[in-house]
Amino acid sequence: MIGISAYGGYIPRMRMQRAEIAKANAWLNPSLRGQAKGERSLANWDEDCVTMAVEAARDCLAGLGGAEVDGLYFASTSMPFADRLNAGIVAGALSLSEQIAAFDLGSCQRVGLSALSAALTAVEAGRQKTALVASAERRTGPAGSVAEISRGDAAAALVVSRDRVIAEYLGSVVQTVDFVDHYRAAGADFDYDWEERWVREEGYLKIVPPVLKRLLVEQGVSAEEVSHFIFPSPGNTAAALAKTLKINPEAVTDNLQARCGDSGPVHPLLMLSHVLETAQPGQLILVAAFGQGCEAMLLRVTEEVANFRPQRGVSGYLEQGVEESQYMKLLVFNRLVPYDKGMRAEFDRKAIISLMHRKRDFLEGFVGGKCEACGTVQIPRTRSCVGCGAFDTQQPHAFADDLGTVMSCSSDFLAYTVDPPHTMGIVQFASGGRMIMDMTDVRSGEIEVGASVRLVFRIKDYDDQRNFRRYFWKAMPALTSSNS
């Protein structure tokens, strides 16, 4: 049996209230009032598709670790680098083996599901045993646009293998047709969208049904047998398709529009991950994605589903959201408006790439050391032990999944940050050692001495002069989840 053996997701903490977006843009685009319900997820200024993919993968790999992963499929249309393997950064942050195959996949709204399909193909062919699929998007649109109000930032991750399969892969079909509902030219900031009726009538309703029918026929499954129909699309499109295909209306899956927004290529995997949290053994899941044609896949839930929980899961992240009403944050965090950063922002941030490489276990993987002579745990790992002074006695010690306790902290109004005040402090780790660290995703009053924090891989800063961004680990409030 081959299929999905682990799942996870990630939704950034901030939830921009759509009413605030509509209000700020009412003079410009009064029709946004029609979409002023609910909230959209908004990634912090220090998140991009790489950092979000890392979080979703950690959620998915909870308990498993990454040691068995031998393939990584990373799907996004908002990759920070056009030529530097973005999946390589994800792999480094997850401390995956350097022996793995890793791929960046992009350019299409169905690429998340295509990545899952590619991973299944590779595992089926025996090329890999444990393939990690991650998809993430930072979704922007011009100020005042429908894209801006309806989309959301998110990530999802799945593990494909032959072991402990939760959702058995039954088959998939794909149709590729150069249907342009929208496009984004290479290097362009935004999508160019054609009218919604064109997309719905000629796209969704004409291209998708034959593909889904073909899959069901090939698998010898009747539409009524489908328990979960996952098809990310606006409004009642999925329901209309279900009706056409005679799929039960109850099978149509929540597209998370009210609490997250459309995360594009991530969305089929995000919804799938969400569905797997509550799916019952034997249920059939039909998941499809639209984009220059359509890809559809049929999965059957197994008994193993009861034995897996992601660390927080999509529902855990949905619950951890905090309302955000400052529309300017959406513009600033998405780097859409010039604003007054102050002179302290002018400090040159040219990355030391050679050092990044030689210290990559620490800078990307947050690996420290443990002294074999005296047992002292420390980060960063150095040639001389902070406990006993012995040289070359430290073995690698992973810190990324440690919880930490805040020893001291301060809210800094002086240091430059995109989201002042900047919180930093000394964190003591559960397995020993401490570090003075930046903190992120902090709401007022959450970080005090004694507070519990967890570690997250984030953008350290941007070097706009050289189109580079540096990543490092930060602490954020641990936030207990209903899943944990």
């Binding site: 210290k359 620490f362 800078l363 902070v386 020893m407 809210s411 005040p421 000394i426 003075i436």
Partner: protein
């Protein structure tokens, strides 16, 4: 311990520029201002100086690297020159270089100069000061006040002091220094402030408000040192001698291990212990007449009162509120205004502290003169609470 520095070296002359926003002066000009005063005080000429040390911390907007800016500005005569950079403790370290050179017999007369030109940056506060490549890639994005605010959190947690009580004690620290600075014509800030003003000031890095932070100033200070014999030969009497001179540097213990509780400065305690032994002081609370400490932030001063073993552990808040460190208290602290009001041109500060002790011991401190001081201690700290260099000097009349 080796037999130490006590009474081996005396101060021949000192000078200090007016600290502040010296828009009309470059770093080189400020060195000259302090140097002229020191030369006149010492009664010597440039040709008499055998070796010189320069303390200066920042590079971006200052006099530049190496000791050459000093030898050029002062037209030193092709003598050995050394630049010292140990963050904010640079000044005391330069003084140490000059004192040790004289004590070793390698030099008859040595010069220590501290200078910093900070007001050419275009903004308030210090410029960024990365600590090497690995730090640049992994260190937090923090300002100096946020670094020192960590101590406030650790101190409160250890002694169970509520935020308001600590904030009020910190306010008293600053109110006291402003009162002292108001009497000092060379101080950057010469205004009295009230506790209410301090408490209501804008927050810089929680819990440190504007008045909890020292002035960012331009300035320079100079010391000329020699042996007691040479000083007497030059006609000097009532000599002021170095009693102790100690530095202590972190080794990563505070920052990386779990043994430090963030309520004190490990290095200050190490340096103070050695300095008291070197000076022959057993009861600092009874024996010291006055102190100038590194009050970069009010919390640093508060904690330092304990690290110098003057206040008991956890007892600094009470001593401060009791006025123990006020100008009319048992041990006046920052009688010249301190970093808080005299100002903090980084490289100059350590020597500026010694300058005030020297004036006080000679009875030349004007309106702020204390009655019959005998032993003065200076404490100069560079870095952050978790990674720093602490420098302590004790000076007093030769032979006492």
């Amino acid at each position: 311990m080796a037999n130490g520095i006590k009474d081996k070296v005396v101060i021949l002359g000192m000078g200090c520029a007016k600290f502040g926003e010296r828009w009309d002066m470059s770093g080189e000009d400020l060195m000259v201002e302090a140097y002229q005063e020191a030369l006149q005080d010492a009664g010597i000429e440039t040709k008499d100086i055998d070796a010189a040390w320069l303390a200066s911390a920042f590079e971006q907007i200052n006099v530049g690297k190496s000791a050459l800016p000093m030898s050029t500005a002062l037209r030193l005569q092709n003598i050995p020159i050394t630049r010292v950079e140990n963050f904010c403790a640079s000044g005391t370290d330069a003084f140490r270089g000059a004192v040790y050179a004289v004590a070793s017999g390698a030099c008859d007369i040595a010069l220590a100069v501290g200078v910093e030109k900070l007001k050419d940056s275009g903004y308030g506060g210090l410029p960024p000061n990365p600590q090497g490549a690995l730090w640049f890639e992994s260190g937090p994005n923090s300002s100096a006040p946020a670094n020192f605010a960590q101590i406030a959190a650790g101190y409160r947690a250890k002694y169970g002091i509520d935020a308001d009580t600590l904030k009020r004690a910190l306010a008293h620290v600053s109110v006291k220094s402003h009162a002292n600075g108001a009497k000092n014509p060379k101080a950057h800030l010469q205004k009295v402030v009230t506790e209410e003003q301090v408490l209501k000031a804008p927050m810089i890095a929680n819990p440190l408000g504007l008045f909890d932070c020292c002035g960012v100033s331009d300035g320079a200070a100079v010391a000329i040192v020699t042996t007691p014999e040479i000083a007497r030969r030059l006609g000097k009497t009532d000599l002021i001698a170095v009693k102790a001179l100690q530095l202590a540097g972190s080794n990563g213990f505070e920052a990386s291990s779990t043994g430090w509780d963030l309520s004190y400065f490990l290095t200050t305690r190490a340096a103070a212990t050695r300095a008291y032994a070197e000076a022959g002081i057993s009861k600092p609370r009874d024996e010291l007449s006055m102190i100038e400490v590194h009050d970069c932030f009010s919390i640093t001063e508060l904690v330092t009162m304990e690290d110098l073993f003057i206040s008991s552990d956890g007892g600094a808040v009470r001593d401060i509120m009791d006025g123990f460190y006020d100008a009319d208290g048992k041990i006046p602290c920052q009688i010249d205004g301190g970093l808080k009001c005299f100002g903090h041109p980084i490289g100059a500060s350590g020597i500026r502290m010694i300058y005030e002790m020297y004036l006080q011991l000679q009875g030349r401190a004007g309106d702020r003169q204390l009655a019959n001081p005998t032993l003065g201690l200076t404490h100069n700290l560079g870095g952050s609470p978790y990674l720093n260099v602490a420098a302590i000097s004790i000076i007093g009349p030769l032979g006492r």
